[in-house]
């Protein structure tokens, strides 16, 4: 019998979209049976269009701010911009997101849409928390096909038998 991996995905930013999809797709490639339970902000990762996911440098002091273009010495500079300034510059998040997307592309890292598709190809099961779908006023039509809608009991049905359980 194959090993099982259960993941709870609770974050809805571009950076936090990666861990669940990377781990789910890799585990599936290793022969694991995988189920991901999306709840709260994690529901954003199931939206048909994930191009709107953003990354926020605000309140995130560990995030390096480096430019993904220009000469080598320039790209190595870490732009240490204080949070107080970030918070008052309009569009700072959008800027940080576009820089992050360019860096992702430069590094040959897959896009979220691509990783998600690879998960579905590998038969990773996606379960969305029906309670938070309603709480946030989402409609099932906003999400990709192949998603199951259920509650916490459904998560435990699989997680209780799983070899690895991750809360992301």
């Amino acid at each position: 019998m194959s090993k099982k991996l259960a993941i709870i995905a609770t974050k809805g930013t571009l950076d936090w979209a990666y861990p669940p999809y990377i781990l789910a797709s890799t585990a599936a490639a290793l022969g694991y049976e995988v189920e991901v339970f999306f709840t709260f902000y994690g529901l954003s990762l199931l939206k048909k269009d994930v191009s709107g996911l953003k990354v926020s440098p605000l309140g995130n002091p560990a995030m390096p701010m480096k430019m993904p273009f220009g000469p080598d010495w320039f790209q190595k500079i870490n732009w240490n911009i204080p949070n107080a300034i970030m918070s008052i510059v309009p569009g700072f998040e959008t800027l940080a997101t576009s820089l992050m997307k360019q860096t992702i592309k430069n590094n040959g890292v897959a896009s979220i849409a691509e990783l998600r598709e690879l998960c579905q190809e590998a038969e990773v099961r996606f379960v969305a928390c029906q309670m938070t779908v309603e709480l946030f006023g989402f409609d099932h039509s906003e999400f990709i096909d192949g998603v199951e809608y259920a509650g916490a009991a459904k998560f435990f049905e699989f997680a209780g038998e799983a070899d690895i359980n991750l809360f992301i």
């Binding site: 990377i22 797709s25 890799t26 490639a29 290793l30 022969g31 590094n107 040959g108 890292v109 897959a110 990783l115 690879l118 590998a122």
Partner: protein, 75 residues
Amino acid sequence: MNFDKELDARGLNCPLPILRTKKALAEIAAGQVLKITATDPGAVKDMAAFAKQTGNELLSSAEAGGEYVFFMKKK
């Protein structure tokens, strides 16, 4: 070394080399050999871990000029 299929995973980063390897292995028969070329330094340990967990045999793993070349025999 002889091989039956070749996978160019250069420029790709984790976890893509592993996912593409899995896909490429599905396209060859048991006992056949897949040659993989990658540039992700993390792929060295990852290929070995993939082989160990899936039962496919990593025949060789080598580095030359910033590229990593693997030969994997399908279970």
